[in-house]
Symmetry: C2
Subunit: 526 residues, 2 copies
């Protein structure tokens, strides 16, 4: 029997509030610090490790978090989710993105089909299609091979797939699996589509139109933009476009596309990187085998998240430490800091994943709640950020919890040694140094040079950013966000907050405005 | 006589704290809203307008902010700054970045030279150099023209110039001034340099090494990386590299470069886009005339910032509204939301500019302070963000003040009409709609679909993103940050918070670690 209770009714929360706070400067100094780094560590899938030594927790707090996990029935709720319960209460839908990469529990049926089989079938259809494009069996009207793939989508149809493409581009080039360059058109700003179209050879490009509903304003507008460009180049758009959509959308079963691949309403946009939304572009760019490895990494991480032992469940642990920081310690934002240029857009993806899922003020039953939920998420790759906003992180008046990510090896394995260390070693030395600088600080009589420390961080350490590691990383954060939503008793799978702006924008375009909106419309020349 | 007093000692602050708060839903609805949008508007340079109708201010609050501006002597402090007073108290330096684009006050001398003349001379030297590269007078060893320019720099030597390049790339292509493609290498991650080098034709590339001190670890490492690549391609690095540095740096007057251009210690990295740091790459990419227009826009905005009338000084007004939101209303972060794909990296630049300048816990005399200073800054372009993190902005439990930017016209002037509106009109309709949706909200009995409103924003509206508009935009935010620093009585021009990490990273590389740092170093294989 699962109980869906508000966060502020849980008795383990008040225990946590009363527990003594951890003095990070003290516990992370000297031998105690060394012990913590060894002990506060959990293996993840994809050769990754989650290390939380520099978080403001100790065995007492962890015991409290364990109680919270039990009281909030986190693994039971996850089990209910992957067994097909209607977890998305707002839209009255099941939540099945984990099923795109594995079968964790019972068979889940909907619309009269086994959903796992449905997702597998679509993955296979995409794989077959990609192989035919790579072999030239599917080619342009002149029989020439396609060399470039352009994804047209926005939000979840853009950020996740784009971040994953950038994450694996160099790896694929190094490992001989790079098949096609990928580009992305997202913004309704006409300069976005124009610039991308100016940068590709449209005659050898295949376009993927991605919209689950088939009604996304930006995406349909950009479809027309691209169709115009193809026609102007004397090409038949229907020979250059595929669709990824739901079977009930206006884009399904249309002659406008070479082929269409399907997802469904049980996969939210921000959770769709492992469905056809990510699958088509990644399979075309890197080959279906690389996409399959990515899914395997995600599936292995999903499995770890079923572990009832908090200390062996990295996503649940990360989630609960985040809740402790947000609701007990009162920190309003979190920074994502990957020490890997390949993850340059991963923070933007997590920003959507987290803020769109958990930026809510009502519980899963639509009742207002009295506690804070999802934090602001931002971030940039290190070491770049060190020369930018880290000043505030080290010496600002607010504390910002940090999530570092680092890899022992680079992807291209091309490096130089200067002053006895490689660039990769310098990169890793910097992330190690930052963790300790943030945690321990350094006293100085010159207060302008004084570092108070006490600034918490965790790090995910990997061997190398491979497809499997990336899949594990992605699933880790998806599951973290899911567990936090469970703790806060909110629905992490709808997004009603995006609706009002859409409604008002339509009014502006129909010139049905009054008051402030009418004057803004004049000022903007609409 | 200028008084440098802490923010919490100012009597106008307590007046502001006591003033009645503005009910944004109420004042922005109906005819009152229309009146506000017309009235709460200030012209900027570059054909821009700053509109603050949707901020939580009214005539009473504005009167309070005017008193605060006077009590904190904001224009007097600005005047002292541009007349050469030692405003950077931490490093005991003058602050002269405004002088790179105009002469606002008295002649400023340092190191025995007229600094305005020095910056003008360097700008002219860069212009002459760029013209010679474009004409082919300066060419590679085979006498072939350079086609690509690659900037090697990090932090302020990267984010600002990169954001400016992306902002003007399409404009220059449309207006026939696009001369050379630009790329950027910043991260010490070896995959960054490798990927950029793999994407360019090194034989026809000119590299700009940018480091004021000439000692930046990442930049020198990447210099070696590039030199290696040039040598492997059988090229002489000294024939492919220029430097932008200070005259006292190890990079000055070196045979390693075709030419060196100079800046000095009076220009902080994050304020250096209008110096040679931005000037070399932008003049090479777009021609010196475009760079000059960019400077003219910035200079005009600097002049506006001298206005003692708060309601005619957009940077000062923006700054004070931000302080009111941060210190009186208690909002911990601010989002930058440009409705322009060309400004895709402008938020990352402002993130550095603001957080590195004002993320401080001591006043300008090095004494601890008891009030919050710079907020967390983040953002992504609209409409993309609408399909991502806007959920939290609309319905999250925290309020995040918003800074919109929008333009009436696109840069490439290439558009499609769908359902009676162009893409540009759809883009503008969305930003107008968002402002009103955030301010006014919309009541709904279904609390999951309810929008409380009361979420403040301002918008900068422009005709088109031209070089002059971009210069004005850049200077606006630089001056806003400067004024906020004055109000908080902090030094916005040093960055001691970045030092400790550097020191510890060196220890890691020298294997001089113990405790937690030693264990992290092992885990990361250093």
């Amino acid at each position: 029997m699962i109980n869906w209770n508000n966060f502020d009714t849980l008795s383990s929360v008040s225990t946590l509030e009363k527990a003594e706070k951890v003095d990070l400067v003290k516990v992370m100094s000297g031998e105690s610090g060394a012990e913590r780094v060894k002990k506060y560590s959990v293996p993840m899938a994809g050769n990754l490790t989650y290390n939380y030594a520099a978080k403001e927790v100790d065995d007492t707090i962890l015991e409290g978090l364990k109680k919270l996990a039990e009281e909030a029935q986190l693994t039971e709720k996850y089990e209910a989710l992957y067994n097909g319960e209607v977890i998305n209460t707002g839209e009255k839908r099941m939540v099945l993105h984990q099923l795109t990469r594995g079968q964790l529990g019972e068979k889940v049926e909907a619309d009269g089909v086994d959903k796992r089989e449905f997702y597998k079938k679509e993955q296979q259809r995409i794989a077959d299609f990609a192989n035919k494009v790579h072999s030239g069996e599917i080619a342009n009207a002149k029989g020439e091979k396609f060399t470039t793939v352009v994804q047209i989508g926005i939000g979840g149809s853009d950020l996740g797939p784009r971040a994953m493409y950038l994450a694996l581009e160099n790896w694929a080039k190094k490992n001989g699996t790079f098949k096609m360059e990928a580009k992305f058109i997202s913004n309704v700003d006409p300069d976005d589509a124009s610039a991308v179209l100016n940068s590709v050879d449209v005659a050898h490009s295949i376009f993927i139109l991605v919209s689950k509903s088939g009604t996304t304003l930006e995406t349909l507008t950009n479809q027309s933009f691209v169709m115009d460009a193809l026609k102007k180049a004397g090409l038949d758009p229907a020979k250059h476009m595929i669709a990824v959509t739901s079977e009930t959308s206006p884009l399904a079963h249309s002659d406008d596309f070479i082929e269409a691949f399907y997802m469904d309403d049980y996969i939210g946009g921000r959770y769709s990187s492992t469905s056809g939304v990510g699958g088509a572009v990644l399979s075309l760019a890197f080959g279906p085998e690389v996409f399959a490895q990515f899914l395997d990494g995600a599936a292995a991480e999903d499995k770890l998240a079923t572990n009832k032992d908090l200390l062996k469940n990295p996503a649940m642990l990360d989630a609960l430490i985040g809740v402790y920081e947000r609701n007990v310690l009162g920190y309003p934002s979190t920074a994502i800091l990957p020490y890997s240029q390949a993850l340059s857009r991963f923070p933007a993806h997590l920003q959507q994943l987290d803020m769109e899922s958990n930026g809510k003020s009502v519980n899963r039953f639509g009742e207002p709640i009295n506690y804070v939920t999802g934090p602001v998420i931002f971030g940039e790759p290190g070491t770049n950020g060190q020369h930018s906003f880290y000043q505030l992180l080290h010496q600002g008046t607010d504390i910002v919890p940090l999530q570092f990510i680092g890899f022992k090896n680079s992807q291209l394995h091309n490096d130089v040694t200067i002053e006895n260390s490689t660039s990769q070693q310098k990169l890793c030395a910097n992330v190690a140094a930052q963790i300790v600088a943030f945690a321990c600080g350094k006293a100085d009589d010159n207060k302008n040079k004084n570092f108070e420390g006490g600034r918490p961080s965790s790090i995910i350490i990997g061997e190398e950013l491979t497809p499997a590691a990336l899949g594990a990383l992605l699933a880790h954060f998806e599951n973290k966000v899911m567990f936090q939503g469970f703790v806060w008793n909110i629905n992490s799978f709808d997004q009603e907050g995006v609706q009002l702006g859409k409604v008002l924008a339509k009014k502006v375009l129909a010139h049905e405005t009054e008051g402030a909106l009418a004057v803004y419309s004049q000022l903007l020349n609409i």
